[in-house]
Amino acid sequence: MDELAITFLTPERFRARPQVGLVIRQDWHSLARGLSWPHVASRKDAYGAWCPAALEGGVVKGGRGPVSLLVADVDDCSEGAIEREAEALRNYAGVIVPTFSATRARPKNRIVLLPSRALAPDEFPIAWSKMARTLAAAGITVDKGCKNINRLYYACVVRSPDAWLGARVLTGEPIDVDAMLAAARAELAEQEEERRTRERERPIASTDRYIAAAIARARESVATAPEGGRHEALVREAYSLARFGLGASDIESALLDTFVARAGEARRREGIRAIRDSVAARGTAA
């Protein structure tokens, strides 16, 4: 990418509501220098904030737009973490920047990686999750909150020059976005296949088997209850199932559709209330 588009918020724009930033375009090297150059201040918002996406109209809340950088905060780390991360990511282009509260013992930091092209908003969550999974597999646990496309990051601020741990510039190649997305999709396809297999062939524990039999009997009882007796049957069976430690939502999944199918959609809320009351009554009785 010749130029990267990101959203920048001055301190004033950062503090204003609604937050509206300025979409700026810069080449990677000058942007990397800006992101990793420390400003000394007592407040971390003293130099504003930025977002790796070019948010439409600069509007932060609910904002979307093409994403120029993949960013992840590493909060859970030990001494030497920045060096280890830089070593593991040496083949990529990017920067690793200590964050405001970083200390030598706990060098919290931000990984900023350069992709080969801007990511479309729909591609971003796939690519970001892939990055997080791959980093996790290498022992680097990142803050899941960074997966939001409009996430804001404070500018590089340090309490004092002494507190500055030094940023690391990664001088490798940009991440091949298309190859990364292909790898991510392969992982997702496998996960989906495994989920389906588990659904299909879920081993039934013996306790589950007994509970499953009890649920089947309860469902049958609700389904065959005569008109005028359906509410009572639902209450009775919900109370009975609660003895297995099933919660209201479990029992709703088990019985509510059967009740509604027989009693009518208009009575769904009544069914939910009856189940919740029964579970609460069982809790009181216990």
Partner: protein, 366 residues
């Protein structure tokens, strides 16, 4: 140097290969026993019998019979013999080894009330001449509302999972079923539930003893156990108890047969009759079909060598001499060291077994 991260390679799960069939299958890897070495090593491990030839740890033993035929009597004898703090007791001519120290016997007695169950336990101690201190190790739940799925059972599972229970005794299966005593599915689910509770114990798994009603006019076959082949299939051992009655329909004794045992004993158990009658001192006396052996004052080695005149298995030697497994191991080691016995393999009941025999002075076996 740290391995470089590559975002373009999918992280896919390991899959089984011809060389590593359990690769990527963590549950099977944890549970499966694979390969000759492990299987042979396991096969060579001695069976730790709780009740000689009948029950070992982690097994489910079903005691079937009609009401009043002696199921509970037999079960309570087992309970106190397992709870005993003293020497092993003899029940039906087979040694019952006391449960390891620090373990409890959890007794779900739903047929009898607390008072009746307590009296039966004390009587069982007297019958087997076991100190009633054994009852310190019995946790008795003599209530009809203690069933599978209740809070009591859920907490019992926690006790079992803590590894503090050596034996779980359920009297009876029908009473322990959560709702409908005649619901076969519910009864069968109990087996699955207790099996799962046993599995949660990491080592030294408890034995589960379950009393179950048999069909009326049962003849002692597996099919007679409450009519469920599934249930007998779930049990490792099935004992059938039938009362012998006099002309006035009073029970004079009970006969126990063994339609199913997990390990085939060297000698078939056949049927064993037992009764409990008052002795001349007024104490209950247990009388089993197998008559007690008179004490032999000769040294152990001498008695052993007499038995080993004919090829004999270690089990047979242990039973004949009335020894415990470590004692018979020591004896065999000593006799080998003294070059008084030899070992060879013979096919017994279709399986190769080690047999020992007395060495002829100057060379080959006698």
């Amino acid at each position: 140097m740290t391995q470089a991260i590559d975002f373009t390679v999918p992280i896919l799960r390991d899959r089984p290969t011809a060389d590593e069939p359990l690769r990527g299958l963590p549950t099977l890897s944890r549970l499966a026993i694979i390969g000759r070495a492990r299987i042979e090593a396991l096969a060579a491990e001695p069976i730790v019998w709780a009740w000689q030839d009948i029950a070992s740890e982690g097994q489910i033993v079903l005691v079937a019979g009609s009401p009043g035929d002696g199921k509970t009597t037999l079960l309570f004898l087992i309970v106190v013999a397992r709870a005993s703090l003293g020497a092993p007791a003899d029940v039906l001519g087979r040694r019952v080894t006391p449960a390891p120290p620090g373990k409890y016997i959890l007794l779900f007695e739903a047929e009898h009330g607390p008072g009746s169950a307590a009296r039966k336990l004390v009587k069982s101690c007297l019958t087997l001449d076991i100190d009633t201190a054994a009852l310190d190790r019995v946790i008795l739940l003599a209530r009809r509302d203690v069933r599978l799925g209740t809070e009591a059972w859920i907490e019992a599972r926690k006790l079992i999972a803590a590894g503090l229970v050596s034996d779980v005794v359920i009297d009876t299966l029908a009473r322990f079923a959560p709702a409908d005593a005649n619901d076969e599915q519910a009864q069968a689910a109990i087996f699955a539930e207790v099996a799962s509770a046993i599995e949660e114990v990491p080592s030294s798994k408890p034995i589960v003893w379950i009393a179950a009603h048999a069909r009326k006019d049962a003849s002692g076959n597996l099919d007679d156990v409450s009519g469920s082949a599934q249930r007998t299939g779930q049990a490792d051992a099935v004992l059938f108890v039938r009362a012998n009655r006099d002309a006035h329909k009073r029970v004079t004794s009970s006969t126990v047969t063994f339609p199913k045992l997990r390990e085939e004993p060297d000698e078939p158990l056949g049927s064993i009759e037992f009764s409990i009658a008052k002795g001349i001192d007024g104490r209950p006396r247990y009388v089993a079909g197998a008559a007690p052996k008179p004490l032999d004052p000769r040294p152990l080695e001498e008695r052993a060598l007499e038995i080993l005149e004919t090829p004999t298995t270690k089990t047979r030697l242990r039973e004949t001499l009335g020894l415990r497994t470590p004692e018979v191991e020591d004896l065999i080691t000593a006799l080998f060291a003294a070059r008084q016995i030899t070992k060879e393999q013979q096919i017994i009941n279709g399986r190769p077994r080690d047999v020992f025999r007395r060495r002829v002075p100057g060379g080959g076996a006698s």
